[in-house]
Amino acid sequence: MIRRAAAIAAACLLALPPADVFLDATMERRLLIQIPAILVLGALAGWPAGAAHRPWRSGDLAALAFAVGAMLFWMIPRSLDLAARSHLVDKALHLSVFAVGLALARSLPYLSLAIPMTLGVQATAMLMALGIVYLHYPGLICTAYTLEQQRVVGAGLVRATPVAWVLLWSWALHRLAVSRPAA
């Protein structure tokens, strides 16, 4: 309960002024700090307290579909531009990213490990590809920011991908270690 309340409070702090104004000001602060932080806080708020031992439900898969769809939508450069220019869309971005964290926390522990690992490997590969594109593409992709900021984000994503990769596999090994042997 305390963890959930603290995660929600921290997410609100990040999504509201003055932190929001500071974090929205540059592409690297938004994409490398604010959005991942809100995502993790959403996951912390929604992660089940005890061990996750129940069969998967259709809602788990729907939550995962919501999370994947929302993240893909916000990866569209035009969506990020709109969020940078409209306070309303910016709030929708924050809310939906927090909801993505919640949805992942509510679905991943119950689904077969093959599903989150497949998605995780795809997601980390996409992060790396996105980083390389941001780093080397000669034009502006997100027009609300500058070319310099775009390159910093690209370099940041390229560096963050191995970390995400290690975290993903650590989580998978941990889950394998604590899972009960099949009866």
Partner: protein
């Protein structure tokens, strides 16, 4: 099978939304969306009224009968306008064989309040005072109606409270009939732009 239906419905919803938002998965950037919304090429250029550096009000239609390389900029632009102008300067040098009555460079400022005739005349002199290069500013302030008019051309504009204007930095090639026939994104190098214009001129 019914267990998978909610997930399938959610995914279908996202795919529909993304498809609508990206014009059928064709335009993922703000530039791309503005161009897609304006329609396929070639298309007639929408009317544009502007004031040139000598203070005369004129329209795009006046330059029919020759090719026009049309670019939007503003003098306080912190980055991309300068890069685009440099590219056009290079193109102007490379296309020196094309006389002004066959090819005209036209740079229109999106900031008519700050970019007055004196400032634009100074800018024109900095560009080399070329006869084939016209510099001007929008005849109307950058209000909602003006933004909508520019959108018909495929140009998006967004002004923030600090006065910074984010805008399409593409260069539009208009043919002698006044149709937009090619659009060059800002990252297209001058050599490619020159080659495309030469193909048209020949």
């Amino acid at each position: 099978m019914r267990r998978y239906l909610p997930a399938a419905a959610v995914l279908a919803g996202w795919i529909t939304l993304a498809g609508w938002w990206t014009f059928g998965f064709r335009a993922f950037t703000t530039d791309g969306a503005a161009l897609a919304a304006a329609g396929p090429l070639p298309r007639p250029a929408s009317p544009l009224t502007f004031i040139d550096a000598s203070g005369d009000t004129t329209t795009l239609a006046r330059y029919q009968g020759r090719y026009v390389l049309l670019t939007f900029m503003y003098l306080h632009c912190p980055g991309v306008c300068q890069l685009v102008t440099q590219r056009l300067q290079q193109a102007r040098v490379d296309l020196a064989e094309a006389p002004p009555d066959r090819l005209l460079f036209l740079s229109v400022s999106l900031d008519p309040e700050r970019d007055d005739s004196t400032a634009l005349a100074h800018h024109w002199r900095a560009l080399g005072s070329a006869a084939g290069w016209v510099v001007g500013r929008l005849a109307r302030p950058l209000d909602h109606r003006q933004v909508a008019d520019l959108a018909h051309l495929g140009v998006w504009v967004s002004r923030d409270p600090s006065g910074r204007i984010d805008h399409a930095a593409s260069t539009f090639l208009l043919d002698p009939a006044g149709n937009v026939v090619e659009v060059f994104r800002p990252e297209v190098p001058a050599t490619a732009l020159v080659a495309a214009v030469r193909r048209r001129l020949s």
